[in-house]
């Protein structure tokens, strides 16, 4: 792969050839070949190129995120217990399943994922549903395994999770299909009734044979009846429920208007006198159904959040029984049993280390950016990743009782306790309903006294002309348009209530690891001679320490000699013989105790970084530092949030000194940040703040999930365990924090559009009501006024400028 000509866009010297992100200076290739921002991207590029799929790089819209494979083995995907739960066997011997993929946000993902059958022999079909990041995969178990497919997707940067909400999904799908069908039937019939109405109105002015008028009116009746009987039924059911619960609901006047209009229209058709209202009635049903469907779609979670959280722990564990090792379902682990967890695997349960030494990546659970040593006796938790070597762990708690299990429950409970934001239109609806009913009654009573014949007609005209279509459409339309625009800008918003809440500045909590920072442990500085690099790389190839991974990622294609006599000291460093020289790499204490001198320069980039020294033949020659650097745009974004009026606070599970350094860099004052906060602590803090007003929680991992679910609005940033972020109301799929500022701006604009829409529809309704009460509304005017208000709202929403480039 060193002979490929670089694709066009790699022309900019510092763009990663795979993802287009800037390449760190230490990774720049001097020889003019493609550079990659990380090892993951280099691997993905190689796979795509070798599969003959270079056209991927010509796609106009591509995923711009570093490929960060989890490196998991996905062995449990092949376990019979897993297959029994998620895999369907087909009669022809093939198998199929659904996988939820992290990192799917654009057109190029569809292209790439659907070409997996070309790259992995044995995969028959891979279809991606981009809106929900759900891949439908079919394969031949004789020639490949699901774990191989999963590993392959992981290498491309789409970490797969089993999709555990199939039954919920089936039900939702059926609901959606019924809703689409209702809208379609109502729309088709209403459209035809409207055409007949136009003919009748023209006839009113131009003259029409009475026989044809009667014929057209009967046809209208014939077409309107089914609209009320099937699609319109929901409003009568809603009104009935409103009646039973004694709460005013928008369905109540709608049902009265529909019912009265239809009955009166039918009577008038039979007696061949007066207006028929059928066009208004049918159109009302259609427009209201559309508005409701849009709103429901926007609010619905893509998948069942808690079911995805369960996907964080492996479903199968390796239980040790004497000499034998047996695979058992993770749910079946009882306290006291011994399990084996190999390097790169996720712990299936909480427990204490019984045998072995390793390091554990806790970032998923606690937000701790630095890996933690796991020696015998240390506690480990389900869902965290064993990095270095095989461990035997005595289980203390498993399944629901494990820490991550309890956290999942907290997430569900937090979401349940959250105070729902009452939408502007919903707040108005109750009043609106009461006023309309009152006015209709007044109209009827007044006209009863003066001209009894017109009383019922005028009251019905009022109910129809004040049709809340425009009001019902005002919010969902503005929200749907904004959500669509935001999605194109990489901001995925789940519900309109989030937009309304974000438009009003309150308190915002930011997580540190992965939110303000990259969340990846990497080399931030290297002070030392060029010749020492191959020596370090040679040695670090023997280690699985994150520092070693950092070195190898920083210099991926350095030709290094072979190291011999390599010895590792847990918590210290690594030493060995490379090209005839004694090389030591490790912590300053470890290296200082075995060599003399100090590294050339010692200007650490940040107090939060971990220093690493390098000694060759007994003398310290170089120092590197490793850390999780702050995102470049973070201070600017925090500043702009403040300008908008937000109270910005920092909440992190990382060590206090690290959090303090970051707080200083983004300009968060001493009283406004907290370090070493457990996930439970984050939830408490958010809960406390939520008692005083709206709270926004921005985070990236499971450790933030409970707090995000409890907050008024939870915002998830790219990175971390994406499956856990289904609890968030907003997901920023664009790398970095700049989208956060745009989100606030767009929300403010959206709320302005909603207010304008509501005001417009209210003005229409007030005018219409006044005319109807005065008895000036004839059927023609009512037919024009009613849809006119809806059309105005539709146009105003489309023309609104929310979430636009440069907005």
């Amino acid at each position: 792969m060193t002979t490929i000509s670089p694709p066009d866009r790699a022309g900019a010297a510092t763009a990663c050839a795979h993802c287009g992100l800037p390449v760190p200076a230490v990774l720049l290739r001097p020889d003019g070949q493609q550079s990659f921002c990380c090892g993951g991207c280099a691997t993905a590029y190689a796979i795509i190129h070798e599969g003959g799929l270079d056209r991927y790089y010509d796609l106009p819209e591509r995923r711009s995120a570093a490929v960060a494979p989890s490196g998991k083995s996905f062995e449990e995907f092949d376990h019979p217990a897993f297959h029994a739960l998620y895999v369907r066997a087909r009669p022809d011997g093939t198998a199929e399943t659904e996988l939820y993929l992290d990192g799917v946000h654009c057109a190029s993902c569809v292209w790439l994922v659907e070409r997996v059958p070309l790259l992995v022999p044995g995969v028959l079909r891979a279809e991606l549903e981009v809106g929900r990041a759900l891949a439908h995969v079919a394969w031949n178990p004789a020639s490949t395994s699901l774990s191989a497919i999963a590993r392959f997707l992981d290498t491309l940067g789409y970490r797969p999770h089993p999709f555990r909400a199939q039954r919920v999904e089936e039900r939702r799908r059926a609901e959606d299909r019924t809703a689409m069908l209702r809208i379609g039937v109502a729309g088709a019939l209403a459209g035809n009734v409207m055409m007949l109405a136009v003919a009748l109105y023209s006839g009113w002015f131009a003259g029409m044979e009475p026989a044809f008028v009667r014929y057209f009116r009967w046809l209208s009746l014939l077409l309107t009846a089914p609209v009320l009987i099937w699609p319109g039924r929901v409003f009568f059911q809603g009104a009935l429920a409103s009646f039973r619960t004694r709460r005013l609901h928008m369905d109540l006047p709608i049902a009265i208007a529909l019912g009265a209009g239809f009955v009166r229209g039918t009577m008038n058709t039979v007696t061949d006198t007066g207006p028929i209202y059928f066009d208004g009635v049918a159109m009302l049903v259609f427009l209201l159904l559309v508005g409701r469907f849009l709103q429901q779609r926007a609010q619905r979670a893509a998948t069942d959040a808690t079911s995805l959280l369960h996907g964080l722990t492996p479903s199968v564990a390796r239980m040790v029984e004497g000499e034998a090792i047996r695979e058992v379902p993770a749910e079946a682990l009882l306290p006291g049993v011994l399990v084996e967890v190999r390097a790169g695997e996720t712990f299936p349960a909480d427990g204490t280390v019984a045998e072995g030494e390793s390091r554990v990546d806790l970032s998923l659970l606690t937000g701790e950016s630095r890996p933690v040593a796991a020696l015998p006796g240390a506690k480990v938790w389900a869902g965290t990743v064993n990095l270095a070597a095989a461990l035997r762990v005595t289980v203390t708690q498993s399944g629901e009782e494990s820490r991550v299990g309890r956290l999942v429950r907290e997430v569900a409970a937090g979401a349940g306790r959250r105070a729902r934001i009452v939408l502007l239109a919903d707040r108005l609806a109750g009043w609106f309903v009461a006023v309309v009913l009152l006015l209709a009654a007044l109209t009827w009573w007044y006209w009863q006294g003066t001209s009894p014949d017109a009383a019922l007609d005028n009251a019905i005209a009022l109910l129809i002309v004040t049709c809340p279509c425009a009001l019902a459409l005002a919010t969902p339309l503005a929200v749907t348009v904004s959500i669509g625009r935001a999605a194109r800008r990489g901001i995925l918003i789940r519900g309109g209530d989030a937009l309304e809440a974000l438009a009003r500045p309150a308190t915002i909590y930011l997580d540190k690891t992965g939110t303000l920072t990259d969340g990846r442990f990497r080399m931030t500085a290297w002070n030392g001679p060029e010749w020492a690099r191959p020596l370090v790389v040679a040695l670090e190839r023997h280690s699985s320490h994150p520092v070693a991974a950092g070195f190898l990622e920083a210099w991926p294609r350095l030709d290094a000699p072979i190291a011999a006599a390599v010895r590792q000291t847990m918590g210290g460093g690594i030493e060995g013989r490379v090209a005839g020289r004694e090389v030591i790499v490790g912590s300053p204490v470890f290296v200082g105790s075995r060599a003399t001198g100090a590294p050339p320069t010692s200007d650490h980039t940040s107090a939060a970084d971990t220093p690493v020294w390098v000694a060759v033949d007994g003398a310290v020659v170089a120092a590197a530092s490793f850390g999780d650097p702050l995102r470049a745009e973070a201070p600017g974004v925090v500043g702009r949030l403040r300008e908008r009026g937000w109270a910005v606070r920092l909440l992190s599970g990382d060590a206090r000194d690290v959090v303090e350094a970051v707080a200083g860099q983004v300009g968060v004052g001493s009283g406004d940040w907290r370090g070493e906060v457990t996930p439970e602590g984050k939830l408490e803090e958010v809960e406390r703040a939520a008692g005083q007003g709206a709270v926004v929680m921005v985070g990236d991992g499971v450790n933030d999930a409970a707090a995000m679910a409890r907050a008024t609005v939870g915002v998830a940033v790219r990175g971390g365990a994406e499956a856990s972020l289904a609890v968030a109301d907003v997901y920023l799929s664009r790398p970095g924090l700049s989208a956060l500022d745009e989100l606030m701006e767009g929300s403010e604009r959206t709320l302005r559009v909603i207010r304008r829409n509501v005001a417009m529809s209210l003005v229409y309704n007030v005018a219409g009501a006044a005319l109807a009460m005065g008895g000036w509304i004839n059927p023609l005017l009512a037919a024009i006024l009613m849809p006119a208000s809806s059309i105005t709202v539709v146009l105003a929403s489309w023309r609104s400028r929310t979430f636009e480039e440069g907005a």
Binding site: E50, V110, L119, G131, R173, R177, L181, Y215
Partner: protein, 60 residues
């Protein structure tokens, strides 16, 4: 004008047909995913690379 007595019922029959076709499509899940097919249509068809012809030979 009396042709209307024939034409309108025919039009309504056509409408019934259209609704039936729509119901069939909606029930079959044609409207379940409105986003991906739009994207897929823009991608070049490489049926030649589809399974059956197996894996392409990687350029060396």
């Amino acid at each position: 004008m009396s042709v209307l007595y024939v034409v309108l019922p025919i039009a309504l029959l056509l409408l019934a047909g259209a609704i039936a076709a729509y119901a069939w499509a909606a029930r079959r899940g044609q409207f379940d995913d409105l986003k991906t097919p739009a994207i897929r249509a823009l991608h070049d068809d490489d049926t030649a690379l589809r399974p059956g012809s197996d894996k392409t030979t990687p350029p060396t």
